[in-house]
């Protein structure tokens, strides 16, 4: 029964994302445009481009996921769907984890898939591209999970968007450091294994605790 409810929320959110294409595409286009503008601005100095590539792509991914974050619970809060989720016999944290998963599939996965293509503009080697994609694959779910807590806490607050950025961006710093660091470590011959382990160590507790934290914050917002 809980499984059906989980799948129903996941399916509904993905269906909504398909029907509100513009919202999803805005964040993805933002990422593409940011990543495409940097090589033009910096100039065709390949060594510099290779050096800044991981940082630029990671900051782009981070800001683009911030764009989508503000709307994570907003619509459900306004139209009463969140109330129904709070009153469901299925634990609210399970339903919220379905929402977070849908959010990552819609806002995180396209970035992971686009990153290797955009990385070509920075003259990244095949090895570096693989590392970058893997790092994003481990890191972007953390952005959705931790960002979800921020979105839940600032729900219904006036000027919530700014507050959300202030609240969440400092928490994204470790993901940024180790995500971008993975590519550099790989390029310098140290291997990205340690960085991947640390990213995984951030992802697992975030995946476990975030739905509970979100559900608790949302219940307060609903009072």
């Amino acid at each position: 029964m809980s499984g059906t409810a989980f799948m129903a929320v996941l399916r509904r959110d993905l269906l909504l994302a398909m029907r509100r294409k513009s919202e999803v595409l805005t964040a993805v286009f933002f990422f593409v445009v940011v990543a495409a503008l940097f090589p033009l601005g910096i100039g065709p100095e390949l060594n510099t481009l290779r050096l800044v590539a991981p940082g630029v792509l990671w900051v782009g991914a981070l800001l683009s996921s911030m764009l989508a974050l503000q709307r994570l619970f907003e619509a459900d809060y306004r139209d009463g769907t969140l109330e129904q989720m709070a009153l469901s016999p299925t634990p609210m944290s399970l339903l919220i984890s379905a929402k977070l998963l849908a959010h990552w599939l819609v806002s995180g996965v396209p970035l992971v898939l686009l990153a290797p293509v955009l990385g070509l503009q920075f003259d990244l080697s095949a090895d570096a591209l693989v590392t970058l994609t893997l790092a994003l694959l481990l890191g972007t779910p953390v952005l959705s999970l931790v960002g979800g807590i921020g979105a839940a806490l600032t729900l219904g607050v006036r000027g919530g968007g700014v507050l959300l950025s202030l609240l969440v961006l400092p928490l994204f710093i470790p993901v940024l450091v180790f995500g971008a660091g993975a590519v550099e470590a790989q390029a310098s011959g140290l291997g990205a294994q340690a960085h991947f382990s640390i990213l995984m160590a951030m992802l697992l507790p975030a995946a476990f605790f975030s739905p509970f934290a979100c559900a608790a914050a949302l219940r307060i917002a609903l009072e």
């Binding site: 129903a8 509904r12 029907r19 109330e83 989720m85 469901s88």
Partner: protein, 212 residues
């Protein structure tokens, strides 16, 4: 049964209501009356467990709803001001996903019957954003037909409905009460429940008074 004892609630420093007590047995309907801003919606939200009360408790089958949360929630159908409908989804999709979230099993055929009974035949596959306000409310109320929950808590269910839909809803409430269900609703108009067979169902009223 639902028992509400000595509930009080305040907004900020301003007390809204105090010492609200009533009970609702199987097969009873209760009409909650009160002026605008007296706290009817707040009371309903407290009864559902969405908001905390300052004092007092709400009991479902002699256990507070906090102790008995899962059992209470699977017996509850709540319709608030937000209809919990998605503008981009069709009436049918809305009904199906809502049923799954609230832990009910609903087949597509049952959902279509429910929509048809609310006068939405032929509009099942229209996205909600092209529907009128009244049609949206009819979609939300179609969930009642498919609901197996014994306790219905409805906040202003008669708003924005035409005369025919109001009659339909009254029949629906009467049928639910006759079958041993419980209905707690707010409305600013007097409501007489008459079932389709013509027999009328008694409605108790509770007048909510603000703290002076």
């Amino acid at each position: 049964m639902l028992r509400v004892s000595n509930l009080s609630c305040s907004r900020g420093n301003k007390p809204l209501f105090a010492d609200v007590s009533f009970a609702l047995q199987a097969g009873q309907a209760l009409h909650l009356e009160g002026d605008n801003g007296v706290g009817k919606t707040s009371l309903l939200r407290i009864i559902c467990g969405l908001s905390p009360a300052d004092a007092g408790e709400v009991c479902w089958h002699d256990k507070t709803i906090q102790q008995n949360a899962t059992a209470f929630r699977s017996s509850l159908f709540y319709l608030g001001h937000g209809l919990s409908l998605k503008e981009e989804l069709t009436a049918l999709e809305n009904l199906m996903s809502d049923a799954a979230v609230s832990g009910r099993t609903l087949s597509q055929a049952q959902a279509l019957v429910a929509l048809a009974r609310m006068g939405l035949r032929g509009r099942e596959h229209l996205p909600l954003r092209v529907m009128s306000q009244g049609q949206k409310r009819r979609t939300a109320l179609a969930r009642l037909i498919a609901s197996q929950a014994p306790l219905w808590v409805l906040d202003e269910p008669f708003v924005a409905l035409d005369a025919k839909a109001v009659d339909g809803l009254r029949g629906l409430l009467a049928e639910h009460v006759t079958n041993g269900g419980m209905v707690l609703f707010t409305s600013h108009q007097p409501v007489a429940l008459t079932s389709a067979s013509g027999s009328s169902v008694a409605v108790q009223t509770y007048r909510l008074k603000g703290v002076a």
